[in-house]
């Protein structure tokens, strides 16, 4: 019986090696790479289509609406209708735009987003490349998104695009730092940059309790910081200033229409799912089951369930919070998130060198809670702003 579950768990791996059996040995590495890449390029856009529907339904329900309910059962074919719409729309390029850069920006965004999936293990033995510097690769590729966003904003020759791109650059660079710092604690603890090794490090259970990094003081704080920074990185509400449809219409992609706009949309969601996948890998035990008695469910099912849960978190946040102001956004990044992330590294070090037991827990929780309270007091203090005087307006 267990043999069946193992087979089911490894079904995609088995199918891949069965396919490779038809190919001469010299071609096998290349074909193997192509098969893996094609799977990722099909599976994640399909998930993207599902997530757009999920998001619209979820947001609708949070606002006591139905959400899409016309195309197909429960509006499930809405993404198909959207795809047809954006494919048949006219692709307008502004006359003054830099045509080459304007074309390259969405392509680069989507390419970078897809590259990030190369190092995310979606199941047991299911990873495109097991790089020994996987986490580093992920963040390096992730920062290409900033470049493509600025390319889009700059090449459009529109003041709204440029404003949006400037905001995006300021925001993404500010939150890139805590995003990396929040994941450093995991690298410290796992002693490896390989995503596969990090997942293996979290395998195993104490009783029914999994050894996920999120269930430690530093892991929990790291996870929270990582998710906040990930929300800002993927330009989602409440950090959607670069798009800010009510103030700068759509920010850096205002001059995009038709399929290029759809590509931006795709790139953004792929980025969100990739960072969620990274959060799962780093803190939530990757593809591992939450309880040992549920381990018979295939590993990829667990990965995608966790992914959907995190995406629901994103949607929930989007349905709840209003957009931040620029100064609030920057203050939050530099005065709260960044010091917390730095302090969290110290806590992880203390955790590593203290013997296991209750005292370790108490010390680490106190070490995490104290700066959190102090920093939030500092963040919430009333700022005395100078009364603005206008020299020429009155």
């Amino acid at each position: 019986m267990t043999q069946v579950f193992v087979q089911l768990d490894q079904i995609f791996v088995i199918v891949k090696y069965w396919l490779l059996g038809f190919v001469p040995a010299g071609w096998q590495p290349l074909v193997s790479a192509i098969v893996s890449v094609v799977t990722v390029v099909i599976a994640f856009p399909a998930l993207f289509a599902l997530v757009t529907w999920f998001e619209r339904k979820g947001l609708g329900r949070m606002q006591n609406r139905y959400g899409p309910n016309r195309a197909g059962p429960a509006g499930l074919f809405q993404p198909i209708a959207d795809a047809i719409k954006s494919l048949t729309k006219e692709d307008i390029v502004p006359l003054a735009a830099d045509h080459v850069v304007h074309f390259l920006a969405p392509v680069l965004l989507v390419t970078a987003a897809f590259l990030a999936y190369a190092v995310i293990p979606v199941g047991r033995n299911m990873i495109v490349v097991n790089l020994n510097a996987g986490v580093l690769f992920f963040f390096a590729v992730g920062s290409v998104v900033e470049l493509s966003v600025f390319m889009a904003g700059w090449s459009s020759r529109s003041k709204y695009s440029l404003l949006g791109a400037m905001r995006a650059i300021a925001q993404m660079i500010s939150y890139e730092v805590p995003l990396v710092l929040a994941s450093v604690v995991v690298i410290m603890q796992a002693g490896s940059l390989s995503t596969v090794a990090i997942v293996e490090r979290q395998a195993g259970y104490t009783g029914i309790w999994p050894h996920w990094f999120v269930f430690t003081p530093w892991g929990f704080v790291g996870f929270a910081l990582f998710m906040i920074a990930a929300t800002a990185e993927s330009n989602r509400s409440p950090f959607d200033l670069p798009e800010g449809e009510s103030e700068i219409i759509a920010g850096y992609y205002i001059e995009y229409s038709g399929f290029k706009f759809a590509l931006f949309f795709l790139g953004e969601y792929l980025g969100m799912m990739a960072t969620s996948g990274m959060a799962i890998t780093l803190f939530l035990g990757g593809w591992a089951a939450p309880f040992p008695f549920l381990a018979w469910i295939p590993s990829y099912v667990w990965f995608f369930l966790k992914l959907l849960a995190l995406i629901f978190g994103f949607i929930w946040i989007r349905g709840t919070l209003p957009r931040l102001r620029m100064d609030q956004l920057m203050n939050f990044a530099w005065e709260f998130i960044l010091p917390m992330a730095l302090f969290n590294m110290l806590v992880a070090g203390v955790w590593h060198f203290m013997p296991p037991g209750i005292p370790r827990w108490l010390v680490c929780i106190a070490m995490v809670a104290t700066p959190c309270i102090l920093l939030s007091m500092r963040l919430k203090r009333k700022k005395k702003l100078q009364l603005r005087t206008y020299q020429f307006a009155e």
Partner: protein, 206 residues
Amino acid sequence: MVGEGILKGLAETARNFFGSYVSKERLTTVQYPEQRLPRIEAARSFPFLVYDGSDWQQGMRCVGCQICEKECPPKCILIEKSKDKKPDAVGKQQFYPAVFDIDISVCMSCQICVEVCPFDAIKMDVDVDLPTDNRFAGLLLDKQQLAKSNEYYHGIHPTEAAAVDAALAAERAKAQAKKPAAATPPAAPPSAAPVPEAQPVGGESK
């Protein structure tokens, strides 16, 4: 602590999310083509022509006086008055509009045609279900499309229609009483008499 307000907000949206699956009162959306709200009496969309009785051609109240055509601010009404006379719903010989067209793509729903009509022949409809696949011919309504029965008028504007009917009945009674005393030409009394009485009706509809 940072985040207390955020947690409260998250709880609120979660309550909405799950509540909308449990209680039907939360979902106030009317699923339009299948479900409809009751029509609002005080609403108005475009004018229509009222007819009495069952035959729309014979019972049409309009006598083709062309006042509405002249008063219409965007000039969306086209009337051609008939050369001959035909008996109306009560059997009186009347002129009638040979052509009566309203271009509802031009009409601005101002209701001035209704205010000026001395015969209570043109009234405002509440129907908004007027989509068509031809934006020129499909939106140019002719006499037959515009003609709607008095019962329909009672259905959409009950109060106003009752007042109009009462006024018309009173006027007919007065005309009946006058008739034996002075045999005037048939066209004169209806055109002279209704005017002062049509005003209060128009006033009520506001």
